[in-house]
């Protein structure tokens, strides 16, 4: 049996998206910037895609810029806000401790350039409050960037409230909505969002293409200089096929959002309930405020990479926040941010479902995970010390 349960990492490209993109690789391969009608067909597809994406987000087409993906969108949004801030002597940014590295590492670079960044605590449940943002805003704050939903633990942030607060204080608000787009309702106007990043491959679109929403009136700075594509804000011949597929996938996801969410969250809840039966395990992140497909656990006494390898052997694709899986020395910054000790964070497992998963998939996971956890615990000196009382259980 093969169970793909790593949809937060990437998703299968839908057949509709593949069908939509093929003509722009084959018969209609023209350059959207060419004057002749053959190129203008590509241009038309590009603009239709822009309108579709705008419609999905409650934006205007001219507010949508296509990029290479979530990381580029995050970089461009943050560097743009910082550049505007610097001009006005506003060099303070507010974010959270558990953003994606595309945001965190961009902020770190700005810190080296003299910006001050406040990283809000995300509490044990993995949710920031609008009050925290309110209290952190200073006279010199130029940007608040808070992710829509966390990529590891799936917790959903109070975006609309934070947006309202930023609007009131006249501070730009960016959200990394890479995990949320196509999965949670987004209305950039009602949510008071100034800039929003999304990535096609998280909602059954292809890899290597994303979008950045930028509210009209917000000044965007180029990351890539060159031709006049994307209204001069993002040079490089447009990835028409990818962009068309992105728009089709996003439209599909938004059109079926409620039914998908209902189906997927039912699978998720059954998975959570089943895994909670494993002794000394804990769900990471708020139980209610979480993405429909996200399940993230810590199992005490074992290490995540060995768990993943044995799951792979059982045909299950998943991921972990253990240090060993990332090649770094520390476990996931997200799990540390919600207060999990290192020892426990090493034993984490993320399973992320989508509407293509079945109840049988959940059954298979619920058979294999407890078996493998027990197997690894039986060879773990840490587990033995916990059971014998030499060390105290944390979970």
């Amino acid at each position: 049996m093969f169970v793909y349960a790593d949809n937060a990492a990437t998703t299968r490209v839908s057949e509709a998206a593949v069908r939509a993109m093929l003509p722009y690789l084959g018969t209609c391969f023209g350059n959207a910037s060419s004057l002749y009608s053959f190129g203008q067909e590509a241009k038309e597809a590009l603009e239709n895609a822009r309108a579709t994406v705008a419609g999905c987000l409650g934006a205007e087409p001219r507010e949508i810029y296509f990029t290479s993906g979530g990381s580029e969108s995050d970089n461009q949004a943050i560097f743009s806000a910082a550049a505007q801030g610097r001009k006005k002597g506003k060099m303070h940014i507010i974010s959270t401790a558990f953003e994606h590295h595309a945001v965190l590492h961009t902020l770190r670079r700005l810190e080296k350039e003299g910006f001050a960044v406040t990283y809000l605590d995300v509490h044990e449940n993995g949710v920031v409050t609008p009050e925290q943002v309110r209290d952190a805003v200073r006279e010199d704050t130029c940007l608040v960037t808070v992710m829509f939903a966390n990529n590891e633990i799936g917790t959903i942030q109070p975006i609309r409230e934070i947006g309202a607060l930023c609007r009131e204080r006249k501070v730009l608000f960016h959200t990394d909505a890479v995990q949320a787009a196509g999965h949670l309702p987004i209305d950039v106007k009602a949510d008071n969002i100034d800039m929003l990043s999304l990535s096609a491959h998280k909602f059954h679109g292809p890899k290597g293409v994303g979008a950045l929403y930028v509210r009209r009136g917000v000044t965007l700075q180029n990351l890539i200089e060159g031709g006049a594509q994307e209204r001069g804000k993002r040079a490089g011949t447009e990835n028409v096929a990818g962009i068309v597929a992105l728009s089709v996938a996003l439209k599909d996801a938004c059109d079926h959002m409620a039914e998908n969410a209902e189906k997927v969250s039912a699978l998720r809840d059954r998975l959570i309930e089943g895994l909670l039966r494993i002794p000394h395990s804990a769900l990471n992140g708020d139980r209610e405020r979480r993405l429909p497909g996200n399940v993230n656990f810590c199992f005490e006494g074992i290490e995540g990479e060995s768990l993943l390898l044995l799951l792979d052997d059982a045909g299950i694709c998943a991921s972990s926040g253990s240090a060993c899986t990332s090649g770094s020395l520390d476990p996931s910054h997200v799990l540390l941010a919600i207060g999990r000790p290192h020892e426990v964070a090493h034993g984490s497992l993320r399973l992320s479902l989508c509407e293509e998963n079945t109840p049988e998939d959940v059954d298979h996971i619920l058979t294999e995970v407890p078996r493998i956890v027990e197997y690894l615990r039986n060879m773990s000196p840490v587990w033995k010390d916990l059971v014998s009382g030499k060390k105290q259980f944390m979970l």
Partner: protein
């Protein structure tokens, strides 16, 4: 799949000598749960020969494979032969480890030495302390890597 060699996978999925020796003559435990890996090695020693060896490991695939391989390499060997096993020997026997996993083999070498040291201590056998690694509390999880350079 190129993450690990076939040998690493084999020793990870079918680890040799897993478990505990309740009446072991020497026990060594190295690593730190904070860093994500702990190895415990049990030795049964008779007439200077390691007659039995078992391990317990909390750690990633390469940590489990390194422990398993290390036990295979010292079983039936004299103490001197076991002490001569280096982390590089473990890596070579496993047909290599990825660079960021080399510290797992260092732990395996240290686990052997730590268990032998325990045997010496228990039996009042004099030994050269400088030949054994200092098991400091691993506050910085990078130390094993540093030693590998």
């Amino acid at each position: 799949m190129a993450l690990y060699s076939e040998k690493v996978f084999d020793h990870f999925k079918n680890p040799r000598n897993v478990g505990e020796i309740p009446d072991a003559d020497g026990v060594g435990e190295v690593g730190n749960a904070k860093c994500g890996d702990i190895m415990k090695m049990y030795l049964k020693i008779r007439d200077n020969v390691i007659t039995d060896v078992k391990f317990e490991t909390f750690g990633c695939g390469s940590a489990i494979a390194s422990s398993s391989m290390a036990t295979e390499m010292i079983k039936g060997k004299t103490i001197e032969e076991a002490l001569a096993v280096s982390n590089k020997d473990v890596v070579d026997a496993l047909d290599g480890l990825p660079a960021h996993k080399l510290h797992c083999s260092v732990l395996a070498e240290e686990a052997i030495k730590s268990a032998v040291q325990d045997y010496y201590e228990r039996n009042g056998i004099p030994y050269d302390k400088s030949q054994f690694p200092v098991m400091e509390d691993c506050e910085h999880c990078g130390e094993h890597e540093v030693r590998m350079v």
